[in-house]
Amino acid sequence: MTARSVAMTIDQVAVLFGGLVAISDMSFTVGEGEIVSLIGPNGAGKTTAFNVMTGFLTPSAGRVTYQGRTLTGLKPHQIADLGLIRTFQRTSVFPNDTVYDNILIGLHRRGRVRLLDAILGLPGARASERRLRQRASELLEWVGLERRAQDAAGSLSYGEQRLVGVALALAAEPSMLLLDEPVSGMNASETHRFVELIRSIRDRGITILLVEHDMPMVMTVSDRIVVLNYGRIIAEGTPDLIRNDPAVIEAYLGHGVGHA
């Protein structure tokens, strides 16, 4: 792997819910333009890690820095303003709006005009509105949802709703994208197309951190994999390395190989 500058540093982060240790002492880095996957059995602390990185949770100890800025104490919308955008495992769309309007809401960061200009319908605000609509169409085409633009997002299939979620996140102009189980609920061909999408997102210079259970998908797409179990990092490295790591095999398959 070529040397890259570091985008995100997770430094000795711990999260406790009362007596429950969700994450204990997690440290790793994500390089600019890299695709890193965070994997581990259910309850390993993957989503908790996402919540810490995006400001939805405050860590009990440790800190996260993104492009040299410490994220501690920032609200989620302020972290989004730094270009760190996430998707969600479940709640992923604005269900009552059309797919197109979903993307327009997602373009909030780009569409800021002065309130008075918008109310008075000044040319600047109107031009901005035109640019947003143009951009929304481009984004829909990028993720392949242009034919669903006028359907209510809540009426789409599970897999398509995930794509809306990704398009929404892309609309917020991320420099780093955190995807939480994006292909769950997708069939094989949808997953295949999604892998292509992830690559095309990275090709535009966006760093990607992925949480996913679909192992074949993770192995194909990742530059590097971080494995969590019971809130601890048990392995880290390239897909080939991880595939043969005894600690990882034990975490996923349990004991027995040696004892049988």
């Binding site: 919308h77 303003d81 109310i119």
Partner: protein
């Protein structure tokens, strides 16, 4: 299509004083119009951000008192032996100040309550209205307390080159209320169709997701509260200068409930909803007066509200719009199928 309906509705409303000569009915229409403005402002919060302000009448009442006191003048003692004396100013300045002060109150209420939201906002707004009512009732030196502020002057519009036009007749006041209502309607329409309105909608539908794409919850909701309160303040000012007498009863909880009923029955979250609901519930007393005592009318309101929500659960305007669009989308779907078939038959 929608534009045509809007223009026709405005034209119909504008023509009313030309053929309706009965002062009682015109009066009912004016007060209804004032309450419709209040309901529209409530709808901006309730319908477009999902936040229920159960003290909304406070902003209305503050507007009424600010405007009345500005145009009447006052002379009050302050701690330390000072006196604050204010000579009467023109009512039109009272209207401006009413908008400003009510908006400012909206800002503070929003700032206080939107950090926690939901039920807290409801409670903060109820308490706020009650506190303001008690102040109006007990600060007798300023507000005359239960004796009411009387002889509030009518609004006078400065006409450049012609001096002033004092709005004394019902017809003039009707057009004033209609004009303010139109401005409020357009303002809210522009707002909810702007990127700001999309932020509000996003927050209402899925707050977590909205925040994750960079929407600032507190800021967005506070701005909505300020604009909503300012419009309510304008309505209050119109009320004070039209009725020309106000007492602390203007802050009564029942007045907020009336606005909520107007919004819910007409359809929250639709621009025309509060207008339709407001006209129905504003004019219902007029229709019921010959047949029912005022106390019994409240029962009838409840009955009408239940009936409306039973038949049109999302409120009149959204439910009808949905039925209409469903029929139309079926028609367009059919048309496109026919088109596709025709295209398929044509040789390449």
């Amino acid at each position: 299509m929608r534009a045509i309906i809007t223009i026709l509705a405005v034209a119909a409303l504008a023509s009313v004083p030309l053929w309706l000569r009965d002062p009682y009915l015109l009066n009912a229409l004016i007060t209804t119009g004032i309450f419709v403005i209040g309901a529209m402002s409530l709808n901006l919060l309730l319908g477009f951000t999902g936040q229920l302000s159960l003290g909304h009448i406070a902003f209305f009442g503050i507007g009424a008192y600010v405007s009345a006191l500005t145009s009447l003048g006052f002379d009050i003692g302050l701690p330390g032996g000072f006196r604050l004396v204010h000579a009467p100013w023109p009512p039109i300045i009272g209207l401006m100040l009413a908008i400003l002060v009510a908006g400012l109150c909206g800002y503070f209420v929003g700032l206080l309550s939107f950090r926690v939201r939901g039920a807290y906002f409801v409670i903060v707004t109820i308490s706020f209205a009650e506190v303001v009512r008690l102040v109006a009732l007990n600060w007798v030196e300023l507000t005359q307390g239960p004796l009411a502020l009387t002889n509030i002057p009518s609004i006078a519009l400065p006409l450049p080159g012609f001096g002033e036009l004092t709005l004394r007749t019902k017809m003039q006041n009707y057009y004033l209320v209609l004009a303010v209502a139109l401005i409020a309607y357009l303002l809210i329409a522009r707002l909810v169709h702007s990127h700001f309105g999309r932020a509000m909608r996003g927050l209402m539908e899925n707050e977590t997701l909205a925040v994750s794409v960079g929407i600032d919850v507190t800021r967005t909701l506070t701005i909505a509260a300020v604009i909503s309160a300012a419009i309510a303040g304008a309505a209050g000012s119109l009320y004070a200068h039209y009725i020309r007498i106000i007492d602390p009863e203007v802050f009564a909880f029942i007045n907020t409930v009336t606005m909520v009923i107007m919004v819910i029955s007409g359809g929250k979250g639709s621009l025309a909803g509060p207008v339709v609901g407001g006209l129905i519930f504003g004019l219902l007393p007029v229709a019921l007066r010959p047949v029912m005592a005022p106390e019994a009318q409240w029962i009838a309101y409840g009955g009408v509200l239940i009936a409306i929500l039973f038949v049109l659960p999302r409120g009149i305007v959204p439910s009808l719009a949905q039925r209409f669009s469903r029929r139309r989308s079926k028609a367009t779907a059919l048309a496109s199928v026919t088109l596709a078939e025709t295209a398929a038959k044509e040789p390449a």
